[in-house]
Amino acid sequence: MEFLNAVFVAPFLDIADSPVFFAEVVIGGLMSGVMYSLVALGFVLIFKASGVFNYAQGAMVLFAALTLVGAMEKGAPLWLALLIALGVMVALAFAVERFMLRKLINQEGIILFMATIGLNFVLEGAGQIAFGSDVKRLDVGLPDNSFEVGGILFNTFDLSAAFIGAAMVTTLALFFQFTPMGRALRAVADDHQAALSVGIPLKTIWVVVWSVAGAVALVAGIMWGAKAGVQFSLVLIALKALPVLILGGFTSVPGAIVGGLIIGVGEKVAEVYWGPTFGGAIEGWFAYMLALAFLLFRPQGLFGEKIIERV
């Protein structure tokens, strides 16, 4: 009886009692959701263009952030370090196309997936060899102060992250929807051979998309790195992006952001109001449960493309 009360009654009474706190939890969830979306975006881009789930996206986030901090430690100003890191990610995109993808054209998705597992280990190892395994402090000059509005605490860093995330999603959505390159990217995602047969330069497309994914990884690395320091555990934030992808759909840029927001709010509300009943720390698995619940009704995710195949 006590358990039923803790699950079905008490949390709702609590929400009704303190609506301001509930609003703060929801806003906190939205802020966290944007951070998840930043990581999920990288996955979506590569999946859209090559139909491959890029296992190395977390490692790319780490590698990009390490390159940025490494350049700053050598004395480069922020703008130059950003350019260097971006250059390294573009070079990585060329290398991935030249040494990995080119040899795997028209292979099964699982083969490409396996190749990205290899890439993950290469990036993890190379990053640690080149820049060490120490925690590195990253200060990109974003304000990090807190202020209260109507009893709700806001953090300027979280707000900046939300703004950057929203700007990035809008740009990418427009790019995919309204540019010839965006259409070409979607064509490649549908069928490598068909795209090639109508003259779409597959190699260029792959370089472009991996470069953009690299840039997204750099932004995600900056935001997460500024929060907790640049360290190996950045690789693990990929785990936070998975439920977002499942929920939002693997092929939708807006899906990544909406999925991120739903997961962010869902897990925070669950942790705060239902966590104590289940021993706490439930948000990790709750995010997957939430995504699973959505899958029951929309197997392709909220915004994913419905796949209809002739059999």
Partner: protein, 438 residues
């Protein structure tokens, strides 16, 4: 042609046999200590200084003293990535190395320690889980092969409550105080919960237990709850990235940092540096000093780094976790020396080192001779007490370095020891162990 092949084969065999024999001869005067390290992976920022502290101390003993009573220390690192499965593999790989096998093992992970406890007696390799692992292993009557001095998680939690009472102005001032335990949602993180609950009951503290999921990069939900509950004090049992994120989140909700206290695995340089200025004032428990102001550090610079202090600092000398690795190595070395006092100056077996650990008596004078006076507390182990109930110190981060912010505080043995004995008795019953008479 056949003669030539035969000749070459014989020559090869002679070279191989001679090589093996000379290696055996070289091994004969060496004391092997396995090193389970994590220099890569998500916990590497904590693992690297610990491993360097061990390595440098063993090297110091070899170079400065010619080994332990003339017996050279040999050691081999095995990468665990702080992963329990890999840690057990490392142990299996290294346990039979050296002329007498592994002298002792320092698992450097509570998870690995739990897995090795049943193996230690079978393999005859004592475990020294210094300030981590299974707390009830402090009861030497049940856990003959496991040692966790100078203090355990439970003693640490009681010392924390004592520290709070001192800060608040007395034990009676604890009544009604709100203390929140923010812990890593793992066996390690939960260790202090039982002690804190018992102490909350005794002193009328309002205790809240709040878990953070691994790895702890995202703690928004926990800090929203903390903001709502407005605790007077926060005690944190974190590890790795969880610590730095928590410190940053505390700063962002303007929580008073001098009321935020980490346990001794939440108080390293890697925990506070990412949080920048926000970490100023943060405190943590410890059982040894931070920095390089002791004679032993000078010895390391001179003997290990050839006088190059910059190189030593590059290798993390003086960082909290470097010093911890160094203290841990010192206890192991002194246990081997104690064993040699009984069994002679030759490589010791695991069983002999176990005796050395159980009869270890590191006095104040001893610490002074080692260049560690005031750096850590004396330790006297006994058959019944593998913890020694060592005192705990609290340190504070001033934005650039750690400094002691309290005196050495003895734990509340009257509450901790019965809990240890009760848990050990339960383990003995479950595993059909007859406790020793000590």
């Amino acid at each position: 042609m056949k003669f030539r092949t035969l000749f070459l084969g014989l020559l090869g065999a002679v070279v191989a046999v001679t090589g093996v024999m000379s290696m055996k001869a070289a091994y004969a005067a060496e004391q092997f200590i396995p090193m389970l390290v994590y220099r890569t992976g998500p916990y590497a920022p904590s693992g690297i200084p610990v491993a360097n502290g061990f390595r440098d101390y063993y090297t110091l003993v070899n170079k400065r003293d010619g080994g332990i009573n003339g017996v050279k220390i040999t050691f081999e690192e095995c990468e665990t990535k702080y992963n329990t499965k890999q840690g057990v593999e490392c142990y299996e790989k290294l346990k039979n190395k050296g002329p007498t096998g592994a002298s002792l093992v320092n698992p450097y992970s509570t998870g690995i320690t739990y897995q090795l406890i049943p193996k230690s007696e079978v393999d005859g390799v004592p475990i020294l889980s210094m300030g981590y692992g299974r707390t009830s292993a402090a009861d030497g009557r049940v856990f003959k092969w496991v040692f966790n001095f100078p203090a355990t998680y439970w003693s640490q939690a009681s010392a924390f409550v004592k520290y709070v009472s001192r800060q608040e102005g007395g034990w009676d001032k604890l009544k009604g105080k709100k203390i929140l335990h923010l812990y890593h949602n793992s066996a390690y993180g939960k260790e202090a919960n039982a002690t804190l609950t018992a102490l909350a009951k005794r002193y009328g503290i309002k205790l809240t237990l709040l878990a953070v999921d691994h790895p702890g990069q995202e703690q928004k939900a926990q800090w929203l709850q903390i903001r709502r509950k407005k605790p007077d004090w926060i005690f944190m049992s974190g590890w790795g990235v969880m610590n730095s994120v928590a410190i940053k989140e505390a700063a962002s909700i303007n929580f008073p940092m001098d009321h935020f206290v980490g346990n001794w695995w939440s108080g390293s340089d890697a925990d506070v540096i990412p949080a920048g200025a926000g970490a100023k004032g943060y405190k943590s428990a410890t059982f040894h000093g931070a920095g390089t102001g002791w004679g032993v550090h000078n010895d390391i610079v001179q003997n290990v780094y050839g006088g190059d202090k910059a190189k030593a600092m590059e290798n993390k000398m003086g960082e909290v976790l470097y010093n911890r690795g160094m203290v841990n190595a010192m206890f192991g070395v002194e246990a081997i020396r104690t064993a040699m006092g009984k069994y002679g100056n030759k490589p010791m077996t695991g069983a002999q080192v176990r005796w050395g650990l159980e009869n270890l008596n590191v006095t104040k004078a001893h610490l002074k001779a080692l260049g560690m006076e005031g750096f850590t507390q004396p330790v006297k182990v006994s058959c019944a007490d593998h913890e020694t109930g060592g005192s705990v110190m609290f340190q504070q981060w001033d934005g650039s370095k750690w400094s002691f912010s309290s005196k050495w505080l003895p734990p509340l043995r009257d509450i901790v020891r019965p809990m240890i004995e009760s848990d050990a008795a339960m383990y003995a019953k479950e595993n059909k162990i007859t406790p020793r008479k000590c």
